[in-house]
Every structure is written in structure tokens, then in C-alpha cells.
């Protein structure tokens, strides 16, 4: 199953790259965890007809999925990558069987995950990220019933508008403090993204028109289960306390790059202070610190679907050049319109990052909050450990097991770093990123053993 290029992730970046690379003459293997291509943003788009309530932007993903219909592209669905080996290639798992895809070039397009939103009660049944509810809308035709949307960021407005269009409007929108005024200096550049800005304002207008109660400047989140299994959501706005009841509490504070795979390869990473997250260090083509490994899309820094599509195509052009299929002049000529599209797509980002920054209470939540969902470690015990010598991620891991459960720190690392930063008065940028080791997704010993002996490998 050898290919010139192995792409991991069939979202907008991976799909765009696959098409460009295949048209340029490379054989492409596209590995993706889902049954159907699309990624999270275009989840299930190829299979859904008659769901106009999801909106026109969602439907746009259909063309990318159709672009995979090319003889040079082999799409491997339900493929979970658990290691990228410098010598052997990409190692992945499906139905209990591991496979190795050797490749001269690798493109990692694993996208984003939602930023964890920890507060007392966030582990209860009845609480989910807003993006998770959106996946259920796209893939299952399920809409949240009597839900509250809480947090901040454009996705909250989109989900609210989709719920209204589907006839299941949210009970309330509870927004954490936004810094629109603080973000205003970034607005001139944002005007290049005017259509997106107008779309956002349109969503806000639809929420207003539907008469959804809208709380602003909310803090001190707390959730409990009521006797009849519903969720009681307490919060404050200024000096006022609020208590609302709902069926489902959907939270959101933006997204962060999924960097477990890039980190496990030992690629260079850097801290993005604007977005409050680590990302792999990349050149303008998406090339990482390993020359044959490229990263495109939100996995290399959050930019959204349109930016991901452009970045995927740019990386594919660079890979075609590296493979000797495209000269430098041709690469640069074809890159020019993509760079313009990328610049347009990213023009709104600095404004959004500044306007919807994460309130510190969600980076260092109250003591009783469960921070590590897998090992059930509270913020209080992490604070205590940080004050008594566990001043780094690794020390915290060995003393409290944070990040050692099946999610491998995906749901707690940002918070553990926030708590250590608070306790030791050091900037978060000096405390990570945590070291990630193979396998990046749980595999059984039998699944590893099935690969056969590899005596020369010790790393």
C-alpha cells in the first residue's frame, strides 16, 4: 500500500491537497477516521440531502468530497493513525488490524478540536461542546432539545441559528465577556473579510429576531443535575446571579489545533499567544521542521475551513515541487491566487482571536472542577501539587496521573498548564507543549504485535 503522498485527515485541507497532488501526478493515500470524507466542518456532507437548515457554507464542502473521485487518490475511511515512523511510514489501524503506508511525503491535516471548557459540573451527562451537538445535527439529524448555549465565539451564533432554522431554538444564549472594543484596532484588516463579517452579523440578527434570551458578560459557571435528570445551570452577570434549567448545556470557547500527531514525531512547535495554543512551526508552504512532513489546515494553527482549503492546496504544490513534478516557477504561479484566498480567509482571524479570548476562569477553574476527565483529578489537587513542587506537565503527570488516561491529555492539558502557570506565576508559553508518545490513539498489544518483528527499531 505504498503511495507517493500519505495525507492524514479528510477535512477541507486534506481533501484539497489530495486533489491537487493527484492531478499533479502523485499517488495519494488519504487516511481518515470517519466513514465518509468531510472532516468535522463538512461532516457527512456527501450523504446529506435536504438539510437546508444547516446552511449554504456547509453545502459547499460537497465539491471537495466529489474532488476525491480521481484515479490517483485512495481514500481509506475508518483509519486511525497511531504512529508516523520516519523510516517505515504512517501506521494506522482499522477493525483491529494495523497497516503501514510507506510514503515519500506526508501531509498531516488533522484539524482542530474544541478547547476544553472546564467548570464545576462539566462532566455530567447533559453537557456537551456546541460542536458535538453540531456533529449530531449533521450526521444524525438530531437537534438539541431545550438547550442553552454558553461560552463565546462565532460557532455559538452559527449553532444557535441552525437550531432556530431546525425548529428547536435554544432556551438562552449565555455569553462570557467578549472584548469587542479591545479588538477594534484589528477591524480594518477584518474588513477584507467583509462577507464573513456580514454573515456573522446576519446570524446575530436571526438570534435577536427569534427572541432568544441573551446574557452577556457571564461568569462563575456551575452545572448540576436536577431530580428529573435535567441540568440546572448557575452563572453570574456582574453582581447578579442566574439559575436556568435546560435539557442540554452546550459550551464553546473556540477551537485549538490537534497536535498529538505532530508532537509525537518530535516536530518543532511554537506557542501562539493570540490563540492560546501550541502549533507546529511551519514555513509558508506548510513544511514542518522535518523536510518531507507538511502540515495544513487548523492542525497547523486555527484559520477555519476556507483557509484550510487554501493551505492544503499550497502544501500539495510544494510537495509536487519536492517530488520533481512541478518546477519552482509553476509552483509559485499557481500559489499566487491561493495566497490571496488565504489572506482573505485569515483577515478576520486577528479580530476574532482578540474579541473572543478565553476568560482566565476557564484556564484555571475553581478547585472543585474535575480537570482531567479520565483520571478525575480536580483543579484543587493540581493547584496543591503545583505549589509543592509539581511545576511542570511531566511532574504533574507522575504525581497525579493528569493526562495519563485514554484521551492522553487532549481534554486537560490546556487547563493543567493554566493552573501551573497561575500557581507558579510563569507564562503558559514556558510550560508546554507536553511530550506526546506513540501510540497517539490507544491500541491493544495484539494490534501492535500483528505488525510483525521490527528488530532494528528502538524509538
Amino acid at each position: 500500500m505504498s503511495a507517493d503522498l500519505v495525507i492524514i485527515g479528510a477535512g477541507p485541507a486534506g481533501m484539497a491537497a489530495a486533489r491537487v497532488a493527484a492531478e499533479g501526478g502523485l499517488s495519494v493515500t488519504l487516511l481518515d477516521e470517519q466513514e465518509r470524507a468531510g472532516g468535522q466542518i463538512y461532516r457527512n456532507v456527501g450523504a446529506v440531502a435536504g438539510r437546508g437548515w444547516l446552511g449554504a457554507d456547509y453545502a459547499r464542502g460537497g465539491a471537495l468530497v466529489q474532488g476525491l473521485d480521481h484515479p490517483g487518490i485512495t481514500h481509506q475511511p475508518r483509519a486511525t493513525v497511531w504512529r508516523i515512523d520516519a523510516r517505515r511510514g504512517v501506521i494506522w489501524l482499522r477493525d483491529g488490524q494495523s497497516h503501514v503506508s510507506p510514503a515519500a511525503h506526508v501531509l498531516i491535516a488533522t484539524g482542530a478540536q474544541e478547547r476544553p471548557v472546564p467548570f464545576p459540573g462539566w462532566t455530567l451527562p447533559g453537557l456537551m461542546p456546541a460542536g458535538a451537538a453540531q456533529i449530531l445535527m449533521k450526521q444524525s439529524g438530531m437537534v438539541p432539545d431545550e438547550a442553552i448555549l454558553a461560552g463565546a465565539g462565532p460557532l455559538l451564533y452559527l449553532v444557535a441559528a441552525q437550531m432556530i432554522a431546525a425548529g428547536a431554538p435554544p432556551v438562552a444564549l449565555v455569553e462570557t465577556p467578549t472584548a469587542i472594543t479591545h479588538a477594534l484596532p484589528k477591524l480594518p484588516r477584518a474588513l477584507f473579510g467583509l462577507p464573513t463579517l456580514i454573515k456573522g452579523l446576519g446570524l446575530i440578527a436571526r438570534i435577536r429576531a427569534a427572541g432568544i434570551p441573551w446574557y452577556r458578560g457571564a461568569a462563575d459557571f456551575r452545572a448540576e443535575t436536577t431530580e428529573d435528570g435535567r441540568i440546572r445551570f448557575d452563572f453570574t452577570t456582574g453582581k447578579q446571579s442566574h439559575s436556568l434549567t435546560c435539557g442540554l448545556l452546550l459550551t464553546h470557547l473556540g477551537v485549538i489545533p490537534q497536535s498529538h500527531l505532530t508532537r509525537s514525531m518530535g516536530l518543532a512547535h511554537e506557542y501562539d499567544a493570540e490563540q492560546g495554543a501550541w502549533r507546529p512551526t511551519l514555513d509558508p508552504w506548510g513544511q514542518s521542521s522535518e523536510p518531507h512532513v507538511f502540515v495544513a489546515g487548523d492542525g497547523g494553527g486555527i484559520g477555519g475551513a476556507e483557509a484550510a482549503r487554501a493551505k492544503g492546496a499550497l502544501a500539495a504544490l510544494a510537495i509536487l515541487h519536492q517530488a520533481g513534478k512541478l518546477d519552482a516557477a509553476g509552483r509559485d504561479r499557481r500559489a499566487a491566487p491561493l495566497r490571496r484566498a488565504l489572506s482573505r480567509a485569515l483577515s478576520l482571524r486577528p479580530f476574532l482571536d482578540a474579541a473572543y479570548s478565553v476568560p482566565s476562569a476557564f484556564l484555571a477553574p475553581p478547585d472543585e472542577t474535575i480537570v482531567c476527565r479520565c483520571e478525575e483529578v480536580t483543579a484543587g489537587s493540581i493547584r496543591k501539587a503545583a505549589c509543592t513542587g509539581a511545576e511542570g506537565l511531566r511532574l504533574m503527570r507522575t504525581s497525579l496521573r493528569t493526562g495519563m488516561g485514554p484521551c492522553q491529555g487532549r481534554m486537560c492539558e490546556t487547563t493543567v498548564i493554566g493552573l501551573i502557570a497561575e500557581a507558579t506565576d510563569r507564562p503558559a508559553s514556558t510550560l508546554g507543549p507536553g511530550r506526546i508518545r506513540t501510540p497517539v490513539k490507544p491500541v491493544t498489544l495484539a494490534e501492535i504485535a500483528a505488525l510483525g518483528p521490527q528488530p532494528e527499531e528502538t524509538t
Binding site: R51, Q113, M128, G131, A132, M142, P144, R373, E376, M411
Partner: protein, 105 residues
């Protein structure tokens, strides 16, 4: 135990034509949806109890990141229900607390 689902069907959603078994109780699923989605449509309650404190959890991230939707499917333990498509006749078991040595998977 079987709290009402926290979701309702969108306009024009396909019928739930597949039948799964969850701890001996039938659960209906739509072709193409994940096991986790079917469980959330079936009930708003917990789908497992944690190994550390026994707290109830339900599917959370729906994209393979959080591992809160772990269940046993057709005898295979610790399967992410959000990453597996529902199929007719699937046998699903909730995982209650930590596994003990010698337990059959």
C-alpha cells in the same frame, strides 16, 4: 435510569430502522449514524460509569477526542461509540467502573 433523550429529530430525518441491543434493551438507530448518536437519541442518562469514582458519563465530544463514550461492542471493550457506525444487531454493553482482573471482555 432511562431518562428522556436530550435531542429531538430534525425536520425530515430518516426513520430509525436499525435495531441494536444495549444491556438487553433494544435501541433504534439510523443508518449512517454513530453508536454514540443512537445512545444519545435513546436516553439522556449515563452510558458508562468511570473507573476511578464510578461517576456517570455520556458521550461528550462526538469526534474521537475525549473517550467518554467508551462501551463494549460485540465483546470488544473500550470502543469509542462515537467512531463506530451503528449496524443491525450490534450488542452493546455499558462499562461500569474499573475492570477486574479475570473479567471476560
Amino acid at each position: 435510569m432511562n431518562a428522556a433523550s436530550r435531542f429531538r429529530d430534525a425536520p425530515g430525518a430518516a426513520p430509525r430502522s436499525l435495531r441494536l441491543m444495549l444491556d438487553g434493551v433494544p435501541v433504534l438507530a439510523r443508518p449512517g449514524e454513530s453508536v454514540a448518536a443512537a445512545l444519545l437519541a435513546h436516553s439522556g442518562g449515563a452510558t458508562r460509569q468511570t473507573p476511578v469514582t464510578g461517576a456517570g458519563r455520556a458521550p461528550y465530544c462526538m469526534m474521537g477526542v475525549c473517550f467518554d463514550c467508551l462501551v463494549t461492542i460485540d465483546g470488544h471493550p473500550n470502543v469509542q461509540a462515537c467512531m463506530v457506525s451503528a449496524r443491525e444487531g450490534m450488542v452493546i454493553q455499558r462499562q461500569i467502573g474499573a475492570r477486574r482482573l479475570g473479567d471476560q471482555p
